[in-house]
């Protein structure tokens, strides 16, 4: 590396510091405190300078790193080796991961907390895989995916509390409702692409949330819906003392009662749902409709010139993506037993999109890695309370700096003429 590069990086990082100062100055530096009757401004320049200093240092280090492109850094060596392994041995990697997921609840260190985090990560993996159909394959940037999650959750909650039907009947119904909403959103946005589409879908997500808040008669507004039935193990509820004429899970299998049974069942439930999503996506990608989605992402005009119907193709992508969002929503409702519009804010959509993009658009394994990385890291820093979002942001920045196209960005053809060369 030359001296010139260092000076250049230094100048650049000073400029970054200037921007940081402009941002942090008013936001962090001027703190309002109420003393007596009015509001007073208490400056806290110490923290501002600390933050600005961190920005300068971080930028400088990133610059240095990119300046030594030819010298292999530890991190890039690690990531490239990692992606090489996962790409070459994709099958082995997937099988190992699934096996690990299957035995996970019975590992010695697994406790209630780990299970909760694992269930959460799996929910996001499923949502990521569902959204991957819309964003990764069909190339339709959907910033309102949480709307379908909400529709699924609310349809499940309303059907289950009103009619008392079992989880296995409500689940497909909730999926269908979500798919219907997917088509409903699909129609007006057929002509839109890119940024415009993103804005409209974002609005759609907010519309659904606001309807949920205001349609008090049906959705119970901001109070949410309580007492959503818990899932049962094929008719055997997870209760300490079952109702008259019922046998509960632990009695049937002659086990000591434990709340973990239900958690473990929920874990396997979401694992199976997620794996179904994955299997379905991998299958449909290789079918004509899947290829048409990808073709549409590549070039819509060329698609039309080949007789591919863009309307139907887009609507199926929206509907199927929404359906899986709806499934995940039903799972969420039955796990929480309580839902309110609060759970379906824009930040959820943003996290799901972040998982898909950072994982590498269209990559199924990438979604898994990004979910574990983003959700896992945020959970690890839960003790820091509100500051844990910094860890989330940091994780995003790290991936963008070292893997700008996503963790795994390689696309494999859906069909081969000459077979696998390796």
């Amino acid at each position: 590396m030359e001296k010139k590069d260092i000076i250049q990086s230094f100048k650049d990082s000073l400029f970054t510091g200037l921007i940081a100062l402009a941002l942090f100055g008013p936001i962090v530096g001027l703190r309002t405190a109420s003393k007596g009757e009015g509001l007073y401004i208490t400056p806290q320049w110490g923290i501002v300078f600390l933050l600005v200093g961190l920005c300068i240092l971080g930028r400088f280090l990133i610059n240095l790193n990119s300046a030594r492109k030819n010298e292999i850094t530890f991190f890039s060596k690690f990531t490239s080796k990692f992606s090489a392994i996962t790409e070459d041995k994709a099958k082995h990697f997937a099988i190992t991961a699934i096996l690990f997921a299957v035995v996970f609840p019975f590992l010695p260190f697994t406790d209630r907390y780990f299970m909760d985090v694992a269930i959460m990560i799996l929910t996001y993996i499923m949502l990521g895989w569902g959204l991957n159909i819309v964003v990764g394959l069909a190339g339709l940037l959907d910033l309102g995916y949480v709307a379908f999650y909400a529709v699924g959750a609310y349809s499940y909650a309303l059907i289950a509390t009103t009619f008392g039907w079992s989880f296995w009947i409500c689940l497909p119904l909730a999926g269908l409702f979500a798919a219907f909403f997917g088509i409903l959103l699909g129609f007006p946005v057929l002509r839109l692409r890119g940024d415009y589409l993103a804005i409209v879908t974002l609005g759609f997500g907010e519309i659904i949330r606001i309807i949920l808040i205001n349609w008090y008669e049906v959705t119970n507004g901001p109070d949410g819906i309580t007492g959503i039935p818990r899932p049962s193990f094929f008719g055997l509820p997870f209760k300490r003392s079952p109702d008259e004429g019922e046998t509960s899970f632990h009695l049937f299998f002659n086990l000591e009662y434990s709340t973990m049974h239900r958690i473990i069942f929920l874990y396997y439930l979401i694992l199976v749902l997620a794996l179904i999503t994955n299997y379905f996506t991998l299958k449909i990608r290789k079918l004509p409709v899947g290829r048409a989605w990808e073709a549409l992402r590549e070039d819509e005009i060329a698609c039309k010139s080949l007789g591919v119907n863009p309307t139907n193709t887009k609507l199926t992508a929206f509907a199927i993506g929404a359906m899986f969002g709806g499934f995940a929503g039903s799972f969420f409702a039955t796990r929480q037993a309580f839902i309110s519009p609060e759970s379906f804010t824009f930040i959820e959509s943003a996290i799901i999109v972040a998982i898909v993009v950072l994982g590498g658009m269209g990559s199924q394994t990438g979604v898994v890695l990004a979910s574990i990385f983003l959700i896992g890291i945020t959970e690890m820093f839960r003790d820091l309370e509100q500051y844990r979002m910094i860890a989330f942001g940091g994780a995003m920045v790290l991936i963008m700096v070292f893997k700008p196209k996503g963790i795994l960005a390689n696309r494999k053809p859906t069909i081969l003429m000459h077979g696998d060369k390796k």
Binding site: I284, P288, A295, K304, S305, L306, G307, P413
Partner: protein
């Protein structure tokens, strides 16, 4: 030789600008009809009207089928390719660059495969009937790849091919929908003389072996003069000449349109 396409009094106006002015011409089966003219003469606009991207202000376009004829005005958008079987290529290549060469050719057979896969249902169940149909589609793709000599690159991304090969791939991709009329928008643009010669061979093959009429927009005169059976010359949206390649070469109007009038 029977008529394949007849364009009658086609007019296309964009606001106050008349891009095509009362244009009429015919194209015959198993013939190559070239549309030439200086830049901005309205050639691509004619294509966009024929292939449903624009709706013409006036006039009719008919595709003849045995004894009946169908009006292309009735079809817009993807239906031109799907129902009327008019295929086209683009001035700036429009492949699916991140998809493999084979996948590009399979997307062109989307509608047949969609039916074969029972709108995805049979495909998800992995029925043999679908797998057989898919194999047929792959065989068809291989047939065309053998002709343009790209079979060995079938599994590579279309965007990684050299420019000349991308041009050829776009043409055979259009052929995969088994069109009755193939519209080529400057297929020789950016090709070197060797590649141009190969292109001529490919177009002649399509013309003689397949029941496909070809409509060609081209600036490269070696291509136009080498393979055209019929030439239509446009200038400022009007037809100024129509005839064989040789007649065109010697026409006074055409030379004036290209080189200007002697003072």
């Amino acid at each position: 030789m029977s008529n394949l396409l007849s364009v009658e009094n086609l007019t296309m106006k964009f606001g106050g600008l008349t891009a095509i002015d009362d244009l009429s011409f015919d194209a015959k089966n198993n013939q190559i009809t070239s549309i030439i003219g200086p830049n901005g003469a309205g050639k691509t606009t004619v294509f966009n009207c024929l292939t449903g991207f624009y709706k013409p202000t006036n006039g009719q376009m008919f595709l003849h089928k045995e004894d009946s004829k169908i009006s292309l005005r009735k079809y817009t958008d993807f239906k031109i390719a799907y129902v009327a079987k008019v295929a086209r290529t683009f001035q700036n290549i429009r492949l699916f660059p991140a998809m493999s060469v084979l996948e590009n050719l399979l997307v062109a057979q989307h509608n047949e495969l969609m039916v074969a896969s029972g709108y995805s249902l049979y495909g998800l169940l992995n029925l043999k009937s679908y797998r057989d149909k898919e194999q047929l589609a792959v065989d068809k793709a291989k047939y065309w790849l053998d002709i343009i000599g790209l079979t060995h690159r079938a599994d590579d991304n279309a965007g990684d091919l050299p420019y000349g090969d991308q041009r050829k791939l776009e043409i055979v991709r259009a052929m995969c929908i088994e069109p009755r009329l193939l519209c080529l928008d400057e297929p020789a643009a950016g090709l070197n003389p060797k590649e141009s010669a190969e292109l001529n061979k490919l177009l002649k093959f399509i013309k003689t072996e397949k029941q496909t009429g070809i409509l060609l927009i081209e600036h490269d005169m070696s291509v136009v003069m080498g393979i055209s059976d019929h030439v239509v010359v446009l200038n400022y949206g009007k037809k100024i000449f129509e005839g064989t390649a040789n007649q065109t070469k010697n026409s006074k109007e055409v030379i004036e349109a290209y080189l200007g009038v002697d003072e």
